[in-house]
């Protein structure tokens, strides 16, 4: 399997994951995450791609009984973010997430984007104004909402809400952005806008995206990982995976012959 040639942002080493129910969801995963590139995780339902994604920001810690084995080394400081000695809150300060169903807070648009800044202790209004505007512009939402920042976020359309959630995740200058099936709940036009947004963000942010729509992975990612039943079957450049995958299972999945 090919390896990214540029800087590596994170290294997954021998990652195993067990849910509290005993289910062995991830089996010995090894994978580099290229910096400022989009890495997509694809695979059939239940293959572990969302489980894998949530390891990166320690979301599994919120529910007791889950167990990580192995390491995810975050560069440049080479720290294992899965280690018990590393506070999950610290990890979440460095790695942000956008969820499947848009989940803006029932607060104003401004407060939604600013919440991450408040959590980090920022309180000066002028400073926050600047960062909020930058984040909303980065999420291609500024022009649509600049005149109604104090209005309730939940009055926006589904696609706008999701872009707001992306702005919220951008505002804190994350080192890695995690997208968990960000367009599953959206209509085709909103989906296309989000995909273009991801392509805009690529090169400035390291992005890992989970999608059950493999054509989406083909359109937006640089590197693709195919998972099945908790195992990493193939990891390669997206162009290669979709024109000439090395593994027969990958080929069957891509051509829709799975199952």
């Amino acid at each position: 399997m090919a390896e990214p040639t540029g800087t590596i942002k994170a290294d997954v080493k021998n990652l195993d994951f067990h849910y509290s129910s005993g289910h062995h969801a991830l089996k010995d995963l090894n994978m580099p995450i290229a910096e400022n590139r989009v890495t997509a995780l694809i695979g059939p339902s239940g293959c572990g791609k969302s489980t894998f994604l949530r390891c990166f920001n320690r979301m599994h810690d919120l529910y007791p009984g889950n167990r990580y084995e192995g390491e995810i080394l975050l560069h440049p400081d080479n720290v294992n973010i899965l280690s018990r000695n590393v506070d999950p809150i610290e990890v979440r300060m460095r790695i942000s997430m956008v969820f499947q169903k848009p989940n803006p807070f029932p607060k104003s648009i401004y407060e939604n984007v600013a919440y991450g800044l408040r959590v980090r202790g920022m309180s000066k209004r002028s400073q926050m104004d600047e960062k909020v505007e930058k984040a909303l512009q980065g999420a291609a939402l500024w022009d649509e909402v600049k005149d109604r920042l104090s209005q309730l976020a939940t009055n926006l359309s589904g696609g706008q809400q999701q872009r707001l959630c992306i702005a919220r995740a951008l505002a804190t200058d994350p080192e890695i952005m995690l997208f968990d099936e960000p367009t599953s709940a959206l209509d085709p036009i909103a989906t296309a806008k989000i995909e273009e947004l991801v392509l805009d963000l690529r090169e400035r942010y390291t992005i890992i995206i989970v999608t059950h729509n493999m054509q989406q992975a083909a359109r937006v990612s640089d590197w693709t990982a195919f998972l099945y039943m908790g195992n990493l079957i193939e990891f390669d450049e997206t162009g290669k995976i979709f024109t000439n995958p090395a593994n027969k299972q990958t080929e069957e999945y891509i051509t829709g012959r799975f199952g």
Partner: protein
């Protein structure tokens, strides 16, 4: 307002590469005729070597098209653009090969004295070059009118080809020692005529791409003639 897409950037890059390929092929044709008319054998050798670059670029564009189709699942006009590109580079690559053939004939003819001053061959060459340029312009600009014009211009090429053939047959009949040279000139004319045919093919593909209508294999292509 249609949304800006990153895919559009990639299509732009693809078109640029195609124009480069077209330019290389045009240059090949020009140099091939030059090496014949000016009896420049060194130019002929250089042109034959340059064909490698044409082939390499053709392969590159081919792979690009496959990749773009696999990764972006294009539909409608975008899909026709990519499938037309695949056809185009085929025709262009053949044109390159035909230019190489002309060079090889030139090398042979340059070893002997000229049969007669070249008048019709250059005329054919100019017209052929124009057709090649126009069919590529038609592709880039999605200009259906221009594409139809190219199809019409083929008539002149066919006429010139017939004229050259008749003239050289007379030569060969009068003086058998001219046969080998005359045959080679006939081959050159034939190659030019084939190049022009490929330009017509390209134009017909352009009409399909723009209109979604197949006009290949029809005798009189212009809609006024239907």
């Amino acid at each position: 307002m249609p949304m800006h897409r990153h895919f559009d950037e990639e299509l732009k890059e693809l078109k640029k590469k195609l124009l480069r390929l077209g330019g290389m092929v045009e240059e090949g044709i020009v140099n091939a005729i030059k090496s014949l008319v000016e009896r420049d054998s060194e130019l002929a050798h250089k042109t034959i070597d340059a064909d490698h670059n044409i082939n390499a670029l053709e392969v590159e564009i081919d792979e690009d098209c496959i990749r773009l189709m696999a990764l972006h699942q294009p539909a409608a006009k975008d899909l026709r653009l990519l499938t037309t590109t695949l056809k185009l580079i085929d025709d262009l690559e053949r044109m390159g090969d035909l230019a190489v053939n002309i060079c090889e004939r030139a090398l042979e003819l340059n070893k002997e004295s000229t049969l007669k001053p070249y008048t019709d061959i250059p005329r054919m060459a100019v017209q052929t070059q124009q057709m090649v340029k126009e069919c590529l312009d038609a592709f880039i600009n999605e200009d259906v009118e221009l594409a139809y014009k190219v199809c019409d211009e083929d008539e002149l090429i066919d006429d010139l080809n017939t004229q050259i053939l008749r003239e050289l047959i007379t030569f060969m009949a009068e003086d058998p020692t001219t046969i080998s040279r005359a045959m080679r000139v006939i081959f050159v004319s034939k190659n030019l005529e084939r190049i022009a045919d490929h330009a017509v093919n390209i134009s017909q593909s352009v009409v399909y791409m723009v209109k979604g209508k197949v006009i290949r294999h029809t005798i009189s292509s212009h809609p006024e003639n239907q």
